[in-house]
Symmetry: C2
Subunit: 239 residues, 2 copies
Amino acid sequence: MSGMPLYLSLQNEILNAISRGAYAAGDLLPTEQEYCDRYGVSRATVRKALENLSADGRVVRKHGIGTYVQMTEVPGQSVKFRGHLEDVLLHDPENSFRRISRQACRFPDDIYKLFGEAVDRQGSVSLSLISRRSKPIMAGLIYLPAPQCEHDVEAAYATTEQPTVMILRSAGIKIARGHQRIRPILVEPEIAALLGVPAGTPLLRGRRVYFDIKGRAVAVVEATYHPTNYEMGIDLLPR
Amino acid sequence: MSGMPLYLSLQNEILNAISRGAYAAGDLLPTEQEYCDRYGVSRATVRKALENLSADGRVVRKHGIGTYVQMTEVPGQSVKFRGHLEDVLLHDPENSFRRISRQACRFPDDIYKLFGEAVDRQGSVSLSLISRRSKPIMAGLIYLPAPQCEHDVEAAYATTEQPTVMILRSAGIKIARGHQRIRPILVEPEIAALLGVPAGTPLLRGRRVYFDIKGRAVAVVEATYHPTNYEMGIDLLPR
DNA sequence: TAGTGGTCTAGACCACTGA
DNA sequence: CAGTGGTCTAGACCACTAA
């Protein structure tokens, strides 16, 4: 219908199907071939639609498996951007990751809410520091619920110094997607000391929530960024 | 060579060509057909490579013209994300834009540097407020160099209340790309009064630089966001 | 092993831009 | 108008995943 490209019509069809509840978060969408048959278009067209939805974070495509539906979000007034998990995982070999401390903890209300369905309010919180050429760039509090695999996570921690989400991966917890909300804070003394800035300095803090393929929150990180050793930049592109 | 997909090899070829100076910012790259002939691959493969570079903000593709090279950036340690110009232009009809004041100004050092080649250090600065359902969400200082088209910009301002970058567009200044750096600040009394928060509150400030197709900075905005009426969110996706 | 998504080709026609 | 990128097709083979 109309002058809209076929792949855009298909994208909208799929989004509508998701939003009217035909597929829930974590469900598998029909296969590419199925869409070809159902709408009478070529596979390249179906792929373009699904790749766009993937780029917009609405679905996750897994080679050999299929296309999963992601959680929908209903933001208020906000600017939302897209980024790559890897950019935040800091796999740059020049960055060093160090875990400062770890302890059991009963989650504060706001953190507990993020985990939603988590069976237990009890978990662990770790304090870590990421540096680059011995200059601190980020201090993070990492909240992990107490799951079956806690032992694997601890074992992975013991063998290597890697950012927490890498550790989660090596413990078999695959992260499909995340979301980070950025806000300004006046830094607390403990974090300030780690970053080497005066307590009370205004800093950027990102609250990251990582989700697995089923849309369950599996980790929450409160990342506090150094004011000058680190830059938060966003490229603005035409649509 | 190796098991790398053809389109990735081509992407790297193009990036290498750019970084060794074969094409400068603002130049046109070879056409799709030219790449097909030169590398002996199909047009779909060439297109995939160029579309990826476009999604990464390294080139801008213009229907009927060709593919332009964008400015390269050499960030220090940073997290870089991608977003859409339109998300920042706030074309949401529920948002209202109001220009509070405008005056001639001699640019401060840091702003002047951003304009780089601007012939004149003299320009204008406007103070504006964007609200949503009569709640303030952003106050912005907009710096514009004094160009030939200043008259057109002012004429556009007089006829409609639109965000500055929309105004620039309607004055014939096409914006190809932008960049925003986010940092925390303690808000000054004037901005605080506009947003309705106490002076000294820690807030997010984005310094946006808008570039035309030739890579020249044509506008700088210092955007200060309301702490609760606005959210800065980033989706984290697998690569 | 069967079925999925990932890559790739060789063609076609259309829509936009500038001269 | 000629030339560009935008959309689309109908095939092919490969790489990955789960059972």
